[in-house]
Amino acid sequence: MTLLLWILVLGPLVAVLTQILIPGFFFGNRQFGQVTLLFDVFRRPLWQHALQNSLVLSISTAVMGTLIGASLAIFRSRWHFPTARWLDVSVWLLFVTPSFIIAQGWVLFAAKNGVAAQLLGADFVTSFIFHPIGLTFIMVLSKFPLAYLAVHAALEWQVESLSHAARLTGASPVRTWFTVHIPLLKPAIGSGMALVFMDAIGDFGITATVSAVYRFPTLPYTIYSAIYTSPIRFDMAGVLSFYLIIIIMLAIVFQFYMMKGSRYDSLTAGAVRTRQKKIASKGWIATTCNVLFLFLAIGIPIGCTVFTSFVHEPSKGLAMDNWTVAHYVDLFTSNSLFVVSLLRSIKIALIAALAGLLLGAMIAYVLIFTQFRFKHLLESMSLISLAVPGVVLGIGYIFVWNQKWLESYGLLLYGKPSILILAAIAGTIPIITRIISGTMATVPRTMLDVAQLQGVALSGRIFSILLPLCKSALVTAALSAFGASMFDLAVNSILFPPSQPTLPVMINKAFENLKFGYAAAATMLGGSIVTTLIITARWLLNLNMRRKYR
């Protein structure tokens, strides 16, 4: 397993960093490069701006996203109001929707010839969105679900005696919140903020999409540009990747430091599931705010994508002769790449999800139930790809899997769909491992020990005890991994085999070539098909399990 993780994640990462010292290492040239290139990030204006933009964007997204996500999660866990369920569903929808699709929706809305300016006459939207503040706004609306989910999960249980004690000593409800509940939420808020920060600084989809209209170089986009230019600069890509990884590692260390020195194990036998109170009066305010927020976060970007997919010219508005299904019909014409790229992506994501499930389940078992000496190392390795942006992983894969000596072993995978499968597995391992190990940790070890004493073999213990108890997590893990692999734009953009684009690449290229209606139709239909597949698979598996245990 450690070897597999090395091949999938650490090897490519080391390969990227090797480029800084020996740029031609993987092309047969073992000469040392210029180490001074490492310091160019403080000299070259483009790099300086990329670093600065990335930091400003990700820090402000982390702060704002956590503020919004945590506030919403706290409010949602305390109060019940009409449309509250919409918030939960929307958060999950935003969580699984790739950032480039959200960004496409915003570009369609806010571009100079977009819906806002042409239909609503709101020209100010263009200058607001295509500005660092506007990009932060889009990023916050795309990433806040990470903070929401982290905080919401931590609020599932509460020890009421703590707040009762505070109230009995005269603290107001507000003070109780700020002195009792919020401090106890520090780990969840901290990890939510770190997740938002890491996801934002490594994000490629938003800046890549918005770059069609507005230049805002960030580290991931500049790394991508360095390998998509002539003369190609792998060494520069290596240097920028190095800084990106350092920043992400610092974020992890910061989070660890925040947690250090305090104890948060406050749950006791007296913990009860948090009960939501119904807002007695003025519930309509909460409902209105919720609907407005959801309209902003989902309604505008997804709504604009849907609208663009059904009209000839978005600027002509709602006129009857403007409506069309031509873009959807175009998806199925003979020279359209939609069907082949969708099928290719489904195949890659399916294989990656199943292979990732096998590997992730094995890792989770070792982490939870064995005394393996290096299990902390294994755990760290399984999490690394979460912290490595797709762009960095993608170029690492080029170096590793495009070496001539691999050809004789049939392992020269660059330029073939197999490389996308490996990269997708690497990307899914942290998701799968986290989901499964979380559930496995709830299975008492004594159950397995008793079975072992009864003479049940390891396979029997796993298949008769562990898997039935973890069935739901296994299904969730596999489907989450499938969904995540389908739309990874960064890895797909870098590694897609020539003439064999995958769905995200095909959509992004159509968007780049200004085929907005076609791109929007491909996004909506592709997204709907994948969602239907996931829901159907989940329903079928649940049905099967219900029948089995009826």
Binding site: F27, P45, A111, V213, I227, F463, P498
Partner: protein
């Protein structure tokens, strides 16, 4: 337990099968690369017409890999140790010249139709015969939105881009991303030397020059009113006019920088005969004429005699051909300077 065993067995089988798929795919790929009939061509235009035309004319099978100039060069560089291509055909003469200097091309091939090259184009063929020009188009022509500017108000020369009347209303494509944009920008560094070129483009930036990734983005900005004037690649400009968009084209009297499309054969090709046939095919006057007649992208000057450009193309189009060696030698420097300066 049996259910779980069967689920796990299924997973193992699928994963193993994926290995088999990969292996069989690998085997298929290997067979394909050794297949004498299939030629892999990396190209950035004409992918919708050239394949069937070549297969019909020669009987060789062809696989086309389409990408932007930057994508193609990136792939070629990444595959340096193990090229997956047989022929590259793109409007990237300086970058392709660099590949030739690095010994990546088959040398010494003289196609039958090379004798029909016009004199201007014969001069572009390097000593080692690494590549042959198949035509040239304007890397940029002055294109303006005629809803907001009259012919009199529109810029007549490239130097007008620094005229305060066009403050923050001129756009060009990014030379780091769009291949023709580098041909456009580097032309000023050739005409006026490095420092002179920097001075001209600095003046444009001081006047609020806007940069867009590729020519289609530039066209969109022009139509949406984000900019009034664009240095737009020739085919993109004529296509807008043909679509009845409110756009007019000006060919500056001093000339438009040329982006030369060339075809070169990989030194490591296993399909040498087919590759030679393809390059010769591209130089055939009948084929060059057929391409011009068949494609909307074909607004260019053909490289061989006896071929007529599109009838609506400017009759007196003056192209400024690059000094290839200088353009190649300064490519990294110019692109880096441009990227760094533009971000300021």
């Amino acid at each position: 337990m049996r259910t779980y065993l069967s689920i796990c067995l299924t997973i193992v089988l699928i994963v193993l099968q994926s290995g088999c798929i990969s292996k069989s795919k690998l085997a298929e790929d290997n067979v394909r690369s050794e297949d004498k009939e299939v030629l892999t061509v990396y190209l950035n235009d004409f992918d919708d017409i050239i394949g069937p035309m070549f297969e019909e004319a020669t009987g060789y099978r062809i696989e086309l890999v389409q990408g932007s100039g930057a994508e193609l060069m990136s792939r070629i560089e990444a595959e340096r140790g193990n090229p997956h291509w047989d022929v590259v055909w793109a409007d990237l003469i300086s970058s392709i010249h660099g590949l030739g200097l690095n010994g990546m091309f088959y040398e010494g091939f003289v196609p039958e139709h090379a004798a029909k090259l016009k004199e201007t184009y014969k001069l572009l063929v390097p000593e080692g015969n690494w590549y042959y020009p198949t035509g040239a188009h304007a890397a940029a022509v002055i294109t303006y939105n005629n809803d907001v500017l009259t012919t009199e108000e529109a810029p007549a020369s490239w130097t007008d881009f620094s005229n305060p009347a066009f403050k923050s209303s001129v756009g060009i494509a990014d030379p780091a991303i769009a291949a023709p944009a580098y041909a456009f920008v580097s032309s000023f560094f050739q005409q006026y030397d490095i420092e002179g070129g920097k001075a001209i483009i600095s003046d444009w930036f001081d006047n609020g020059l806007l940069i867009y990734p590729k020519n289609p983005n530039l066209a969109m900005a022009l139509l949406s009113g984000q900019i009034k004037v664009a240095a737009l690649q020739e085919s993109n400009a004529y296509n807008l006019v043909n679509q009845n968009k409110p756009v007019s084209i000006i060919w500056p009297a001093e000339g438009a920088p040329a982006a030369v499309r060339v075809a070169a054969i990989s030194k490591e090709t296993k399909q040498l005969e087919a590759a030679k046939a393809f390059v010769n095919f591209l130089l055939d006057p009948a084929i060059q004429q057929a391409i011009i007649d068949a494609s909307e992208e074909s607004y260019h000057e053909p490289s061989v005699v006896g071929v007529q450009p599109k009838s609506d193309r400017e009759l007196n189009a003056k192209l400024l051909f690059p000094d290839i060696m200088q353009s190649y030698q300064h490519e990294a420097e110019i692109k880096q300077w441009f990227a760094d300066f533009s971000i300021k």
